[in-house]
Each structure stands twice: as C-alpha cells, then as structure tokens.
Point group: C2
C-alpha cells in the first residue's frame, strides 16, 4: 500500500484514490501540460488517519517526506531554505467535487527566514510579506481554528490607522508589520508561536485537511448530494505559482462552454495580481476572460489551445483553474464543469452533433433529475411590463422566483421552516451558508462573479441566482439592502430573475419553464429501441396534450373518478348514491354518462390510435358525499329529502376502513349499473369518434380496479361484455377493445396466473399494493413514518421508491405467474413510483412492458430507461 | 359396463356403485343372512338416465329384465303371474344415507289380477287389498305426482262413512272398495288408468326413483350435509316380504347400541302387523324391541344373534331394518347407525375397550364437529325446580332449548329469519319440513318414535328433539297445541329438554353441556404422537383452566389488550393516552403495570411450565378512548381537563383506516414506554411466581404484533432486551424467555427469512393477514360479502376457512423461507381459522408446529390433527 502518489504516476481514472483534483492534475501532467509539480496523498491515507483517531502513521509521514525530497530535487528549491525556498499549496480533493467545503492552505513553507529569501529572490518584499500574511491567516483558520475575522479585523484596523481604503495601498512595510500582528494573534489564542518549521507546517496542514472531511459544512453537502461519508479526501501538495506576483500575473477560472446556457466558446473570468481564493471567494469582482486577449494575447491564445485540448481529451465541457505567474501560464485544475440543466442538454446535443460523443453517451450523461430544472420558470411577460426594478447583477443561475428577503442563512432557514418562501441576500455567500441556501427560492449577492460560491452552488441546486449586484449595499447587521434611497428590509418581498440578472421589488408571478425542444431531441434519442413504453396518468385534454408533448407513448391510467368531481357532476353522483331503487339510479346515471362521453370523446380525439387505459370507478362512494352542512342542505333540496335523511345515508355509507371497504370492483358487483354506464360511455364515444374518421382504429382498454380473484374479474367481464355487445348491435359497429385489471391487492399478485386466464392486460397499482403489503395507510402513516425514518427502520419512503424486498417480491411473483400462463400479456405499472428512476431500474429487471406516471415525470422515465440499455 | 348387479354379486365396499343400502344388502347376502332376494340398479345407470334427459337406455332396460327373470327363477314366482305373483319393493339408495329424502314403492307387481292371486295364495284378501291400495297410493305419489293427501282423504271419508276409527277396523271388502276409489283418482288426475302391466310399473318406478335424486328435499339435504350432487342414486329391487301379514308379522328398526346414549344392548322398536313405512313415518307409535322377546321369543333370539354378527362384521354400531313375515325374520337393511355425539364417543370408547377397533380407528370415526354437540346444553337445575311441565314425550335428541313455538316449517323459517329463536311443533315431520327443522332450536312431535323422521334428522343435526308426545293435540291449522286446557299458541315461548323428553311452559335458561370425561379419553388418545400442538387463545384464569381441561398444550395467544378494558383499567389506559409528556405517561403506566402483573402472576400460577405466548398491545390507541359524552366528561374530570380538550385529543387520534394505522409495534416504536411496561410486567411476574416454587422453570414467550420488517423487530428486540436485562439485574435472577413475532402483514411473510434472523418464533395472525391479502376489512366487508357468496365469487368465508390459494400461498412462502434459515424455529397459527378442521389439514401439510384457537375449539382441533396421522 502506497499512501502518496506523484502527479507523474497517476491518471484521471484514479479519482477514488487521488480525488478528482489529484487524478486530473496527474492526467494533465501526463499530457505534458504546464502543471506545477507535486504529489497527492491518497484518500486511503485520509481514511486511515480518521480511523486511527486522527493520528498520522509513520508510514504516511515518511512517504510524504520522500516525495518532498523528490520535489526539491526537481525544482532545485528546498522547503525552509532561506535562499531557494520551496513554497507549496495544500489542497483537499475528494472523489466528487465539493466546492469550498473543505480546506486549502497556500504559500506553505514561508517563515520568518524564507519570507526574506522569497523577498530577495523575487525582489518584491511587498509580495513576499503579502504571501506570508495570507499563510498566517489560512493556517490560523484551518489548522488552529482561529476565527479568520480576527485577522481581517486587524487588517481593517491597520488600514484605518493608515488611512488606506484598498489592500493595494498596503506597502511591504505595512504587510511586514501586519505579519507581526498576526503572529501575536497566534500566541494570544493558542499560547504557541506560529510554527517556523516548514515540515511541521506541512504535516499539520495535511492533518487539518484530512479532518476537514468531517466538518459540518462538508457533512451537510454530502448529505445533500448523496455522497458517501466513507470516501475520504485526498490532499494535493503542489509547488506554488503566484498570480499575485505583479501586473503580469493573475488567476482565473474558465469553462470551455457556457455553463448557464450551453453556448459554445470559452466562458470565464480572471483577476489580475491575485491569488486563487480571491476569485472563488468573490471578494473582488473579476474581469471576463475575453479581457485577457488584450492584456496578454499570447497567454490568451495558449489558454484557448489548452482548453480545446482538455475538452477533447475529456470529451466534455471542462472547468479549468489557471494562474499566470509573471506571464507564464499554469493550469491548477481541470474538471468536468457543473452546469445548468439547459446547458447540460445543449452541450450534450452539441457534442453529439460535433461527433465527439454518441447519442447513447449523451443520454447517459443526462441526470433525469435535471429535467425538472430544465423546464425552469420564467416571469409572466405581462406582469413584467409594470415591474419595478430594484437592481441588476450577473445572471448566475436561471429561473424566476419571488419570496421574502432574509439576510442570514439562519434567518432564512427559520422563516422557511415557518412555511415562508424566502430569498437569501448576502454580500457574498460562503460554505457556512449552505443550509440557508438550500431552503431559498433565490440567492442574491452584492459581490462575486459567475463562478463565485453563490453562483456555483445555486446552479448545482437549480436555484435561481443573481450575483455581483454591486450597486446594492447589503447591511447584514441592520438586515436591509439599499440602492440609493430604495430600501428592502427583512421580510419584504422581492422577485429575482436568474436568467436576466434582474431583481424586482414586490412579488411577480411566474410561469414554469419550457425548454421543450432540447428535451424532445434527447427523449427522442432515448425512445429509440427502449424496451419499456412510458405512458401518462392523465384525464384532461390539457394533461393528455402535455403528456404527448413530453414523449408519452399513450395514456396508461385514466382515473374516471376524477371526472366526477366537477360541481354539476358531483351533484348527479350524489343523487346516484342516494338512489333507493334501480329506477332512481337510472336518471342520474344517464346524466353522468353524458358527462363521461364528452370527456372520452375529447380524449380519443386527442389520442387517436395511441393506447388509452381507462380505469373504472375506484374509490368508495362516501368520498363523493357532502361533508359540510351547507352541501348537505343543498343535496337535500336537490333530491327532495330532509337533511337528516341525507345524514343517515352518509352514516350508512361510513366505513371503518374505507381503504379495505366497499369500493372498486366490489361496488360493481353489488351495483353493476355504475360500471355498465362507464363501459357504455367508453365504447359509444370510441365508436362515435372513429365514425368521424374512418381510418381511425380506436381500441380502448378498460381496466377494472381492486380485483382480488379470478372469479371477480370473470364475473364482471362477462357482464360488461354483454353491455358491449349490445352497443355493437345498437350502433352497428364493432371496435376492438381490451378488458384488464389492476394488480393492487396482494391476493391478485398471489393468484395472478389464474386471473390471467380472464384478463387481457395488467397494471400494477403500487400505491394500494404498498399500503396493503405494508399494512400502512397512506392517510395515517404520517403519525409514525417520520419516527421510522429517524430510527432508520425504513430506508426510503415505500410510496416514493418501490420496496423491492417486500412489495417487489410480490410483483415479481405476479409477473412470473402471468408470463408462465401467457408470455405476451402486457404488464404495466401505473402507481406514482412508475416515474421514479430508482424504481424503474427494478421494474426493468422484472420485465414490465410499460410504466405510467404523471406527465412531467415522463421524460425522466424515458431517459432512465434508455440509460440502462 | 353393467348397469344391474345381483345382491349375490356385490359387497359392502361398493357403496359408490350400489349405494349404501345396495352394498349392504349384497354384503348380508354374501354372509348368508336372511335377506329377500333382489338386485341393484347402479348409480351409473341413474347418472346416465339423468344425463340423457331422463330417458332410460335399452341396455338398462334389458339388464333389468334379465335380472327379473333370474329372480323369478329363484323364487319360483313370476311378475304378473296371477297364481304365483312376484311382488317387489323399489327403493332408492345413494352412497350416503339420506333418510326419507328419496322415494320408495312397495308391493309393486300387484294389479287387478295378481291381487286376487295374492289373496288366494295367502288366504287373506284383506291383506292383499291392503297391499294393493298401498301400492296405488305410493305409485300415485311417486310416479304420477298425485298428492298423497287425496288418497288419505278418501280413506278418512270412507272410515267416517263406515263409522270406523282405526285402519284395523277396515275389512277386505272395505279395502277392495277403496282400491276402486283410488283407481278413480288416477283416472281423474292423470286421465289414465293405473298401469296393469307390472313391467310398466317397474320401469316407471325405477325412473321415478332416479328422478327423485333431484327433488327439492334431496337437493336441500345434500347441500346441508355437503354431499355431492354428482353421485346419483342406485335403485334396489327386492322381493317383498310382508310385515302386515297378520299378528305373527311385523316390522321394525333397531340399533345394536343406544344411538342417543351409547349404552350397550339392542335398542329399537317395532310395529306388529305393519309395513316398514309405518314405522319411519311415525304414524303409529311402535313398541320397544324388548316386547318382541315375549311376543316371539325365537325370532327375538335370532335377531339378537344376527345383530351381534352384523356389528362385529362391520365393527360399528348398526342400524338394522327387519321384517317378520308370519314368524320368519328377514333383514331388509343394515347400515352404520347415526348417533348423538355423546353416543358416538361412548361407542368408540367401548369398541376400543372391547378390542374391536384400535384407538386410531376410534379417533378417525369421530367427526370433530360432534364435539360441540357432545357438550350439549342442560337446563339450570335451580330453574327447573319451579318449571311448569306442559307435556312429556320420547327423548329423541338430547339437549336443552327454549324459543317461540311455530307449527309449520315455513312459519318457523320466516320467524328465524327475523332473528327469533324458534321451536317447531308438528304432529309428525316429513322430509318437506327440512328447511324449518334446520333453523329450529328444538323439534317436538305429537306422534312417532325414536326412529321417526323427526328423531333421526334432529339427532343428525344435534338439535334437541322430543317425539311421540301423544297427550298433546297439535292443531297446525289453528296454530296451537293443547294439553287438556293448557294452550300453547304460535309465538308463545316453551322450553324443551331433549335429554329427558320433557316440555316446559315459558323460557328456562340452560347451561352448556359437559361430557368432559368422554372427551378427555378420546383427546388423550389423539394427542399421542400428534405432530402439531394445540394451544389456546385465552387470557383469564377461567378460560385458561377451561383450555387446559379441554386438552390445550399451552396458551398460544394472550391478547394483553383484553386486560385493559376493565373499568378501573381503561381509566388508567385513557390517562396514559392523554399524557402530554413522558412524565405524565409514567404514573398511569405504573398502575397499568400492577394490573398486568396481577394478571400474569395468576396466569403463570395456573400454567406452570406450559408454554405461554403473550402478545403485546395490538390495537390502535383510539379504541380505548371514550365514545359517549358521559365517558368523555368522566375522563375530563379524572384528568383535570376540559371535555373539549379530550375531544380534541380523540380527534387527533382518529385515523382514516385504523386497521392500517398507528398500532401494534408501530405504537411501540413511537412510544416505547408501553411495551417496556408490558415486558417488565411479564418478566417480573414470571420471576416472582418461579421464586415461590424453585422447581418451576417459567419461560415466557413475548410476541410482538404487526411486524413488517426485520428492522422493526430488531429495533424493538434490542430495546426490550435492555429492559429485561435491567430486571434480571434488579431482581438478581435470570429466567429463560423468547421474543418472537406475528406473521400478519403480507410484507412480513414476504421477508420472513430475514425476520427469522431476529425472531425466536413466529405465529401467523390469519385474521389480519387475510384482511390485508384480500384488502377486505372485516368491519366493512359485510356490505358486499353476502352478494359475493350469492354470486359464488367466494367459495367460503376466508375468515372461517383459510384461503389456500391466496393467503395460503403467502403463508407457505413464509414457512419455507423461515425453515430455510433455521428449520428448528417454531411456527404457529393463532388466528381463529386455527380451530377450523378444513384449515388444519392445510396447515399440517404446510408444516406448522402448533395452532392456537379459542378453548372450545381445541378438542376438535386435536382430533382433526390425529385423524391425519
């Protein structure tokens, strides 16, 4: 086991061991790109250190030592040497990027002697002491836990005393004096001096970075992004290059394509005469990278070349950190760039068009959860006409949002927990703010650029974000933001447009986003050769149209009971339920039939020959009954009854456990007229629509819910087929149709092989099936499911992701039994888990033919299925 | 295929083909007993006849003809011969005895000529014409469907005209005249003469008997006794012998042991000078068989000898029909006699003691359903002291009952459907009355003997019955019964003691029967080597003692929630539920613990080392909350709260589907204190009881309900074991214990192999498991389950008999998975189906270790299990 790997030994495939940063530094070294020399201490070393209660083994110690010696040889510099001092950066780097979550120390190796050597060697003692004071602050913060504000305060005091406004006014002497002050802070807080031994500095810094794996920010971030706690971080030790080495120096970050829009071309920004953390922290507002073209044309051209090289090497958009030291370009990091959903789609499509990746590869790169973000919201154009602009900034993450303003993460979190929609406004955000950012509708900062902490994090979360609104004076202490004399106080409402970078006063309504074309391109690729169809759960023509636009193969679940809730309809429904005899039943049923026929005609007209599975009435009748005194009175008047008669009937229909009661097919067995009406409405309207267009071949699929035995379905099937035959005779036309059932009662799964003898198709109703298999009522389990999750007694909500072990076993049994009877019977899933990617993997293995979910989940489902090919 | 088998060719094993009667006639013929010659037309012939739309094939026709010829040869008589006429009986006989349900015709072969021949040959023309008129009436009824009352009326008119009171006053001339009248009835009703051709008579009679298989009485009887409709009946053609051939003749029925009490010795009755149907129909009251000893000592001795011979040949109590023709004894039937439950037990025990059958054979002969009847009710002795006797009769079927009097089967049925307890009083019952008899608490007749229709049917059904109350004048038309001037009208209440034959006025309370000793003998035999233990569902010491007395191996289910319903206890329970914090919870819990400890100590003291499985709290908490305003007020006062606070809490605890809600182990996961208290109470009281008797080794089994996953049980187990360890330390004693779970959630069955990793034992809770597997709430399914049964959509109530196809499949999976993990883990069943014989067969195949049911179902369960050995 080796704990330390030189950049020249590793490769980009070793992110597990070297972390993402280390692996890519190694890769770039292998590619002979201008990377400062260095080595990586592996994640294994970190894990061992943490496991051994934060003690570094002598093995790790001596390997680091060996690699430092080798670096010294290569660079002809020595750690602690006063004439040729080797300075290094110490950076964390785990397998998955966790921007800013862990710690970094720059300029390590400086002490009271080497700072003089650096000063002498560079002829720039201002630079040398600036570096030294930075080391003191970072080391103090990261290694010794000294509040970095203590250092900042002293700098502010010093500048005030001197009458300086900007850091650039600080001279060599000033920094030197400040270094003395900083060193005093060490003594004061830790009762020890700042360590002058560079080896001591190095080892302590490495340990501190190891420990930062478990700091609160990092843990929160990992939880949020589903990153395992057991990975550990690597540590990269690299020779320092200095972007703060005068006007021919600088540091920057650039993307090979636009991470917000996906547009082609280099996109980034840089700061002249600055060290890396100045860019990321957003303290100074950087220049766009294009400005480099005029300032240092050679460097700019070299950077363009290297960018292209990296993008085609990695076959994806890269996020590159670079430093220019006195006109010499160095690459400090490259990684696959984070991007917005829109940009992700656009870049994938571009890369396919450019022949760099295959369609298949493109599909695999799209995380299905991006789709919701792709279709991000925009403000109502009409509402925008009269909107009052508060400020403008950089459009860091697209979208539109409104909410109440809060100025600290803590306040934002608190307000959000009270149910308020919040917008977080900060001068700049830092990793400590993560919990407040997560709950915000939008994030606004007065400082920082497109790659600042706020911008990167917001894009990652798909949260609308505007940064660098420099005209806004943000007073976090007084909890207010001011532009001129316009004041926004804590709790005031604003609206934020992350796509344009505009902030408005007041609350502007927005509409959901709509990047249909990008989505369609990708889902169409995904549908090619997919083994599972994706259908929609939808009833209204609007929803059906949306579903088709989003790629649905058809409608897998029409919930006919949803059609009974309109005011006029529910009144007829109630009359039907109250009917005392068959005669009284017929007239409301006849009217309900007309409503249903209208709905079905509209449905078939939109769908044409696409498959359409219509589920007959499912819920217990008492769900349709009036609840309020007013409704009861209304119904009493409408039916010429007394309110007490109505109440009596409601009581009669009351059930102890309606979920297990008189509903679904059980209603049809006791009152066959309801399903007869529904089936007649389906068949008649299908015939009517197909009569208008002779080429149309409509074949409705009638689905009977809550079947538990072959006997039930056989009985209803026989009965309903008589109704259908009568209609065929009456209308003198025959159309194809299917009669199938849901698999939502455990007994139906257990006896599915027999039910298959009388069912043309099946669809799993995972909601009911999960309720019954767990014995959990969805309505009631709220009282204990939270405790279950806290105590880790359920891993995941079984109503969100299929419970593979329990419910899944039952489903597998059913599929096997049905297939054994007839391998060609179509089996689908129409519970909401049908749209859950995790569940889809499982269903695919099980061998279902289609899934059906709500329209907006369709593209994700299509992608998930394609990603498994 | 042969359709007709001679008595000399068959044997008792051929009941399928020859019917019970035919097979036994063949057997007796083979044994050379005095059986009149004859043959049997097989059930196959019947089935073919019915299948061919009631046409008799020429094959059957000619086979019958052949056998008649052969009979004629043996008897030297000929069918239709005027000097030596052969007369035969035509009797139905199916595989299972269906007494009186199908038709019989005697004296067939008589016509206007042969009647004269018979008269001449016997020298008794009164006898000959008596036989002829009987044939006319039976043939008219059975073959031609002429109401037999028409014949009876004419007889009554005739007797009235002549001033006769009794049939015996009728002379030869009288019968001759009546024959003419009867023949006129034929002409009048059927417009045809009575057929003079004996072959025509024979074939028509055979067809009529075939058809009688499907008459309404027979179909009802078969449904009631679970006899298949597809068996068909055989027809026995046998030479007539005449019990009505003068004073040296007679006919009777006898049992080789007493069918009511099981006492040894011949038991029966006979009528002098009568034909068989006179005894069965109960028209005349017969003499006890002992009277035969004085009247015809030789015949009596011969009969005793033959009875013993038959009993030891058949190895069971026989029910023998005999006829004495002019001093010559003939056996017309033998069959295993129907008997009361008590008699069945007693006879079985005697036969074992006599070395005739083995214990195993004895066990197999006891139908488990007899046990309930064995323990038949008796009146409260104290109440009897002041009871007013209405009448006395023959104690035909033991038991005690009270109810409202009805005089027709129809009225009795109607009243019973209204929920009334009814007693049927008739002059005599006939097969047409069967539907009224089934619903009656008791049956009383004014005529008939111990083997009359009423007596036989009542014993078979285990219904209390008194017959032959000759002092009672029953007027079915006026719907009243009178003894002297005491009148009982329709709807009046009487009490009937079937054990003593006494009828009382008014309603006398009774206590359930108690034949413990007989039962114990048989269940003890049954328990020898049984593979499945039978335990009881019981909590109170009384129930536990009853259970042990009835043979329970231990207690398989203590429902601790049953212990919370006492007035004082429920008040503490309610306080606990209302508790707002842990502190307020503790004091009521402490008091509940004391109650539980008292109960558990009593339980362990009774049970000693017998196994005891205690289920922790199962139902949702709101079941314990007050329902009425008064109770709410009471609770409010007791807890110093307002009623509206109480109501608010009740509302909070309300659940949409409590069956699927916050109950069982889910309560313990959110409020661990409840199970902690229960477990502490169990362990502490077990230690306390075992401390009183150092030899006692009490090992309580703690059962956790409603487990759906291994995680739940593992969590609770760990938690509760900490409680137990604390008690062991505190009391300085360690006792063995087990922690197991119910299998009542489908998911638990599906994942039973994993749950087995943390469960010491399992018990199927078939009630909940059936509810969830079917998705049927027991509380609500009443609204549709009736319709399901009517439409044959469920064969049987799945809460009564396990649903093998659905629930059973799930159980089988669970057992297999548990056994695969550890073949030694005990698996039981504690749902109520555990006591159902049909279910036990299934469970045994599945391989469960024990079943647990309510105490009174235990002996039947033990027997059922033993019968499978």
């Amino acid at each position: 086991m080796r704990y330390v790997i030189d950049f020249s030994e590793g490769s980009k495939e070793q992110a597990d061991l070297l972390g993402g940063k280390g692996a890519n530094l190694a890769e770039m070294t292998k590619m002979n790109l201008p990377v400062p020399t260095g080595f990586t201490i592996t994640t294994e070393a970190c894990l061992e250190y943490l496991k051994k209660k934060e003690t570094m083994s002598t093995d790790i110690h001596s390997e680091i030592h060996q690699h430092v010696l080798s670096m010294e040889e290569r660079t002809k510099k020595r750690l602690g040497d006063s004439s040729e001092p080797l300075l290094v950066s110490v950076r964390s780097g785990s397998k998955f990027s966790m921007p800013g979550m862990m710690d970094t120390i720059l300029n390590l190796g400086l002490n009271d002697e080497t700072v003089l050597g650096l000063s002498q060697k560079t002829g720039d003692s201002r630079f040398a002491f600036d570096c030294y004071r930075r080391l003191l602050q970072m080391y103090g913060d990261v290694v010794c836990g000294i509040d970095k504000n203590r250092f900042d305060q002293q700098l502010e005091f010093y500048k005030e005393k001197k009458g300086y406004l900007l850091d650039s006014e600080m001279q060599a002497k000033d920094w030197q004096k400040l270094v003395a002050v900083y060193k005093n802070i060490f003594l004061e807080v830790t009762h020890q001096s700042f360590p002058q031994d560079p080896y001591e500095q190095l080892m302590s810094a490495v340990e501190a970075v190891f420990r930062s794996w478990n700091n609160r920010r990092a843990v929160t971030y990992r939880r949020l992004h589903d990153i395992s706690d057991s990975l550990g971080t690597a540590v990269n030790i690299q020779e320092m290059v200095f972007g703060n080495f005068g006007v021919k120096s600088g540091t920057g970050v650039a993307f090979t394509r636009n991470p917000a829009t996906g547009e082609k071309g280099i996109f980034g920004e840089f700061l002249l005469n600055a060290q890396g953390e100045d860019v990321v922290a957003g303290i100074r507002t950087p220049k766009p990278i294009s400005a480099l073209e005029t300032l240092m044309p050679d460097v700019y051209q070299e950077f363009l070349t290297l960018s292209h090289l990296l993008e085609s090497h990695y076959k994806d958009m890269q996020d590159i950190e670079f430093t220019i030291e006195n006109g010499q370009l160095y690459l400090l990091q490259t990684r696959t760039g984070k991007r917005t959903a829109k940009s992700a789609f656009k870049i994938c499509i571009q890369l396919v068009e450019e022949g760099i990746i295959s369609k298949n590869e493109a599909i695999k790169r799209i995380n299905p959860t991006m789709i919701t973000r792709l279709l991000h919201p925009v403000f109502e154009p009409n509402e925008l006409k009269n909107a009052v602009v508060f400020a403008k900034g950089l459009p860091a993450s697209p979208g539109a949002a409104n909410g109440a303003v809060y100025f600290t993460a803590e306040q934002a979190k608190k307000a959000s927990e009270q149910g308020e929609k919040v917008i977080l406004i900060r001068q700049e955000t830092s990793p400590e703010d993560i919990e407040g950012m997560v709950v915000s509708e939008a994030i606004v900062t007065s400082r920082g650029g497109m790659t600042s902490h706020a911008a990167v994090v917001a894009r990652g979360m798909g949260v609308c974000c505007v940064v660098g609104c420099e005209e806004v004076y943000v007073d976090e202490f007084l909890t207010q933001a001011r532009v001129g004399d316009v004041l926004v106080r804590q709790g005031d409402t604003i609206s934020v447009d992350g796509t344009t970078g505009t902030i408005y006063l007041g609350s502007i309504p927005y509409i959901e986003g709509d990047e249909w074309q990008l989505l369609k391109t990708v889902t169409n690729w995904a549908k090619e050769g997919a083994s599972i169809d994706v259908k929609a759960n939808a009833e209204t023509p609007t929803d059906i149209k949306t579903a088709l636009k989003l790629g649905a193969h058809g409608i897998g679940l029409v919930r006919t009971e949803h059609m009974f809730f309109g005011e006029e309809r529910i009144s007829e429904m109630r009359k039907m339920i109250l009917a005392e005899n068959k005669q009284a039943l017929l007239s409301p049923l006849e009217r309900l039939k007309e409503f249903q026929k209208n709905d079905f005609r509209a449905m078939f007209t939109v769908l044409k020959e696409k498959s359409c599975t219509i589920r007959l009435l499912d819920p217990p009748l008492h769900e349709f009954l009036p609840q309020t005194e007013e409704d009861i009175l209304h119904l009493a008047n409408a039916t010429q009854r007394t309110t007490s008669e109505i109440k009596h009937r409601i009581e009669e229909l009351h059930e102890q456990n309606p979920m297990l009661g008189h509903r679904g097919c059980r209603l049809a067995i006791t009152t066959p007229e309801i399903y007869e009406m529904q089936v007649a409405a389906i068949i008649e309207s299908a015939i009517e629509v197909s009569q208008k267009d002779a080429t149309l071949n409509i074949a409705p699929e009638i689905m009977i819910p809550l079947i538990g035995s072959k006997e039930e379905l056989a009985f209803l099937r026989k009965h309903l087929e008589q109704t259908i035959q009568t209609i065929f005779a009456k209308m003198d036309q025959i159309i194809p149709y299917k009669i199938g059932t849901m698999l939502e009662i455990p007994r139906a799964c257990l006896t599915a092989g027999k039910i298959a003898e009388v069912s043309d198709f099946f669809s799993f109703g995972t909601n009911d099936l999960t309720q019954l298999t767990y014995g959990f009522s969805r309505d009631d389990s709220g009282k204990f499911i939270g405790v279950y999750q806290d105590k880790l007694l359920v891993k995941e909500d079984p109503f969100q992701h299929i419970d593979e072990e329990g419910v899944g076993t039952l489903m597998k049994m059913a599929v096997d039994k049905i297939r054994a009877f007839d391998p060609t019977i179509k089996i689908g899933v129409c519970g909401e888990v049908g749209g859950d990617p995790q569940t889809i993997h499982f269903l695919k293995k099980m061998g279902v033919d289609y899934i059906s979910c709500s329209p907006y989940r369709i593209p994700a489902a299509i992608l998930t299925i394609a990603q498994e090919l």
